[in-house]
Amino acid sequence: MAENTSAAAEAYWKANIRLVLWLLAVWFAVSYGAGILLADWLDQFRIAGFKLGFWFAQQGSIYVFVALIFVYVWRMNKLDREHDVHED
């Protein structure tokens, strides 16, 4: 029984880590990627009056950050239920 519980906890934790790593990859890509490392290259493209790299650095990355947290909340709530570790 104890072994089952610890195997289940292990599986939940692995799934959690996988989700977090995916989200952090996006987090890195929009801010450090598009907003800093590739910004000069992206500046050749435009949306409205913005150069794209500049837009990511001053606007786009922030919108993506907000979206990332809500995706995390939604996926984690689902994961909690699937692995039967949710509250109440």
Binding site: V20, W27, G35, A48, A57, I69, Y72, H86
Partner: protein, 562 residues
Amino acid sequence: MDVMTWTYLIVGASFVLYIGIAIWSRAGSTSEYYVAGGGVSPVANGMATAADWMSAASFISMAGLIAFMGRDGSVYLMGWTGGYVLLALLLAPYLRKFGKFTVPDFVGDRYYSSTARMVAVICAIFVSFTYVAGQMRGVGIVFSRFLEVDITAGVIIGMAIVFFYAVLGGMKGITYTQVAQYCVLIFAYMVPAIFISLLLTGNPIPQLGFGAKTADGVYLLDKLDGLVTELGFTAYTAGVKPTIDVFCITLALMVGTAGLPHVIVRFFTVPKVRDARRSAGWALVFIAILYTTAPAIAAFARTNLIETIHDKPYAEAPTWVQSWEKTGLIKWEDKNADGAMQYVAAPADNEMTIDRDIMVLANPEIAKLPNWVIALVAAGGLAAALSTAAGLLLVISTSISHDLLKKTLMPGITDKQELLFARCAAAVAICIAGYLGINPPGFVAQVVAFAFGLAASSFFPAIILGIFSKRMNKEGAIAGMVTGISITAAYIVYFKFVNPAANVPANWFLGVSPEGFGTIGMVVNFAVATAVAALTKAPPRDVQQIVEHIRVPRGAGAAHAH
């Protein structure tokens, strides 16, 4: 009505509101005082976190900084928002499950060591004090400019207000006051932004107006690039800082944000793990409203400023130029004696010295907005400064009454006595903060930025490893924290205080400025902690069980003293 009457009216009304809330929500127990009884809804907590987080610097200084830095200013925008992703994904849910009152609580228990706890207490108090002094200064500046009282009187009024609701209400009073303060500050930030966006681009949403065309059919940013390059500055949308430095500063600010004790402690106030996750999301939504508007305001303000003053005769200057000259934040010297104000990049020909801090405060006047908007901005600046000051004072008072007295020096005190000590500590802390606000050591502004580097190189790795590595032991964590914070502090102190003349990119380690060095300190902390932990024995079984326990959401009770 004139600006002064409006300011007294609006600022006065906001203060009455804060005090009213404080009386309604005063704290009766340590749990209410430290974590608002753990019963705050995630949306309200998100709003309070946003007000707590957005300080006088965010409200007053940030848009001005960006206006003069152009694309390089992005480090603040991404750095001070991206940290919430780390906080939501890596820290908040686990610390909420752990269910204690403070960050040193976690460090002390997870690393089964009172040395680790003390290191954490000292870091928390140091970071919070440097920060709070800057807030009181912000209060003083707003009072002196808009109500024409002197800075000392302004700081004392601010101290009295914070004293009232922080000492009386504790976390409970602070949380609900911060919700009100968020509403005041965001309204005060958005109203002028919307007006100015409409005036310049015809689009009422600043985030869109930022990328829209001005009346003459040119995109605002292209026009601004043209204006600044003509005056000899670098193009607004191009950066001048080296990429590695931008990278490191952004990372240090993000990780520092996630490691700041007054931000982390906010996630102890919600009822469930699930709420802690959601709450971080809401906090970032409320922060993002201001943080995506700030760069738009920056671009609007820089354009307006150049068009209003450059090459215009001083005799015809708008009244705000004289009123800010009186505070010493704008200076004009007629170097070529033509009676006009030249604002150009070359220091020899430039005649205008403009303090970055006034951009947001003077913006409504520059754009000729009605008097009540100017008064509103004053109330917003005060709300931002007071809400952050209150959050920081609470961390200081909790560190002293809970971590230092109850957990270390006087374990026998009752809940009532602990609460009394917490209130006394808050009162003393307010007086020290007020003193620092009236007599600011010259380095406050610089030190505030470094608080992030120090938090990044000490707390963040210790907490992350405490959650994600069961093998991490006290030897590793303490060695990591001590080396991380020491090399970061040494690097900063050397370049900023010991040998400021050497503070040029050629001398920097790998081209990383002192502002970004927290990133290197963090990497060193992780490396040292991992190496030392591998060489010393694993943590005891019951500590490993704590780690297993916090990784699973089920079973989170209300925060309690254990």
